[in-house]
């Protein structure tokens, strides 16, 4: 039985153009800026060094503002007051957190994200209401996943009230339907990867040995879910 439930995520179409401000035009900042601009958003990039703007390429449609993100007048000039979101990705953790806090607390920007290399500080600053991305933790996580090839693993995701889990289907649970691998209201299978092709499953899709299943799971239900799918784990 395929249950149809509306997705809670409201995904904006690129028709609704948003205004984003990016502080720091390094490799991450410039890539992010180009990506957001390509999606049709209005993007402004702030950097202290005009040579950094070259990373954006000649056809970058956004605005470039020379200056430091830890100065309220520079931020104002860059349009922080109208921004829907701000990302800070300069080379310095302290600079990123300060620029992010200026955007969040002083200018009341709704969504603010800061890159923080130091995992200890990234965790601490989360309590200040700023979303932090720690490339150190995410990178180590992805690399250990690549090395370990575990049959059951958590994928990196910045939210802490939901887990993203990937597992490999073994012989024991082959033939079960996606609905049989779901705890209603607590877990949902998002993707089944079969022969390098990603399938967005309906509830009646039957899994096969070797399928990689990606599910979103409420943290409180993780133990229950593991028990449900444990025979499905590939024996290695």
């Amino acid at each position: 039985m395929a249950r149809k439930r509306p997705l809670d995520l409201s995904i904006r179409s690129s028709e609704t153009s948003m205004k984003y401000l990016i502080v720091g035009c390094g490799r991450v900042g410039s890539t992010l800026a180009k990506r957001l601009a390509r999606a049709g958003h209005e993007v402004t990039v702030v950097d202290e060094n005009s040579a950094s703007f070259r990373r954006l390429g000649r056809d970058f449609p956004g605005k470039m503002v020379l200056g430091t993100g830890i100065d309220i007048d520079v931020m104002r000039r860059a349009g922080v007051e109208e921004a829907d979101g701000v990302a800070t990705c300069t080379e310095g953790d302290n600079r990123n957190i300060m620029a992010a806090l200026i955007a969040k607390k002083h200018f009341k920007v709704k969504s603010v994200v800061a890159r923080i290399y130091d995992p200890a500080r990234a965790a601490m600053y989360r309590d200040f209401g700023v979303l932090t991305i720690c490339p150190t933790t995410v990178g180590a996580h992805l690399m250990s996943n690549a090395l370990l090839q575990e049959p059951y693993r958590k994928l990196p995701y910045e939210r802490h009230d939901v887990e993203v889990i990937e597992f490999v289907v073994g012989d024991a649970l082959a033939g079960r339907t996606v609905d049989q691998l779901t705890i209603p209201g607590k877990t949902r299978v998002s993707v089944v990867v079969r022969n390098e092709t990603s399938l967005i499953p309906t509830g009646d899709l039957r899994v096969q040995p070797g399928d990689r299943v990606v599910a979103i799971v409420e943290p409180s239900a993780e133990t229950e879910y593991r028990a449900l799918i444990s025979p499905a784990l590939a024996a290695r």
């Binding site: 830890i70 100065d71 309220i72 310095g92 302290n94 607390k105 500080r121 309590d127 200040f128």
Partner: protein, 137 residues
Amino acid sequence: MFIIVVGGGKLGTYLTRALMEARHEVVVIEKSEAKAQALAQNLNSEIAQVGDGCDPLVLEEAGAARADVVIADTGDDEDNLAICLVTKKRFAKPRTIARVNNPKNKQIFEELGIDSVVSGTEIVMNMVAQEVNRSRT
């Protein structure tokens, strides 16, 4: 009082000397080993610790848990803010005092809960304004 000074540059050195002369117990945290050595020589005292004052472990080693005051007086506002935020978050006791180099950051620091914020630029500018007023009257 027990005071931790983060940043052992010129200002940190003079400040520490004044605090010591006023009979306070002082520990200085300084990132650069060369600066820490110069400070120890200048003050003839082994009160400088080499380390990053934004690191909670370094602050703890310096005794932040029992400090009455933590003063962040480096030349970089973002570092001074981080030092004070980490102190506020991890240690209940000390009052935080921050130096701001860019006077515009004074308001931001106050909004973010730093107990006292000092802007050298602002103090001098106020004095200049007073002088201007005096010469007018």
